[in-house]
Subunit: 155 residues, 2 copies
DNA sequence: AGTAAAATCATCCTTAAGTATGACCTCCAG
DNA sequence: CTGGAGGTCATACTTAAGGATGATTTTACT
């Protein structure tokens, strides 16, 4: 019941206003017989009142235009997933073994540890690393790591 | 002249409408004498017409209501600008010199190069790096670099 | 003013890293 | 089938790096 009233509040108010005004008119009609030439004033006031009513109705009933604003919210991803630069890799022409050695060097492994992990001898790792340094145009493992990261060969 | 009309278009139209309707009323007034009991209909139509006029006026003159809906669009930025982990730095209690040495080591510099850049002797750098490795709990410069990056001490 | 931490330098020694060279094997394409 | 590339291993040498210890000087703070 209350919901019904809420929903049609404007319509009911309009109807009620009409009823009241018509009643007022009926009463005024009677007065008009007495007061001559007052009909114009009466009609004018009716016009004004209903114009105001119309304006009020319009303001009440018009639905607001919806305007969507898209706000770009930047989210900084700490992840920064690594994408290997295949282009650079081709240019440098590193072999599989050299890449493996490079990765292990970057992890801080010693030559001996690398040799153990790859099941080869220490001299083998030395030759690999030497060739690697030559291709990377460096002469220290630390430089190799720095350059490899800069060239996006490793994360 | 045209601008004036444009500016006060609504007002002029309103005035004109009023004039027309008053003229109409005058004419109807005459008719009412003939047709009995038609005053109510006449008044009613006046009310309806002016209500409509009011609505029209309101719609024309009032600024359209705006309701802004903010939609957040998530943009994933891969930037991940480096922020030094001050917390870790405090825990490790590294001195200024040790940090400087760490940074240069990370850049691939040799001890001799670091000594030259910092205007100190090679043994000094060795002591610094030794203490640095001790604090970082590593025993190779490459490990130090790897760990420092992992702990977000350096980019 | 005195003390602790930081910074500097040195020496001695060990180990890891880097360089050079040569040899051997395997696989694959010309 | 043969030569080149990749991989393996070895030896010998040089240099850089790392560890241990001690000493002196700066700096900062109570």
């Amino acid at each position: 019941m209350r919901e019904f009233f809420q929903k049609y509040k404007s319509t009911i108010l309009y109807g009620f206003s009409l009823a009241v005004l018509l009643f007022l008119m009926k009463w005024l009609e009677f007065r008009l017989i007495v007061i001559d030439h007052a009909l114009e004033i009466y009609i004018g006031s009716i016009a004004v009142v209903f114009t105001a009513l119309g304006i009020w109705l319009a303001l009440k009933l018009t639905k607001p235009k919806k305007e969507t604003i898209i706000v770009e919210k930047e989210i900084y991803v700490n992840d920064a997933e690594f994408v290997q630069d295949r282009n650079q890799l081709e240019k440098l022409n590193l072999s599989k073994r050299e890449m493996e050695v490079l990765e292990l060097i970057a992890q801080g492994c010693s030559n001996q540890e690398i040799a153990s992990q790859l099941f080869v001898s220490l001299p083998t790792i030395k030759t690999h690393s030497s060739k690697l340094f030559e291709k990377l145009d460096v002469n220290r493992r630390t430089q190799a790591v720095e350059k490899a990261k800069r060239l996006k060969l490793i994360p």
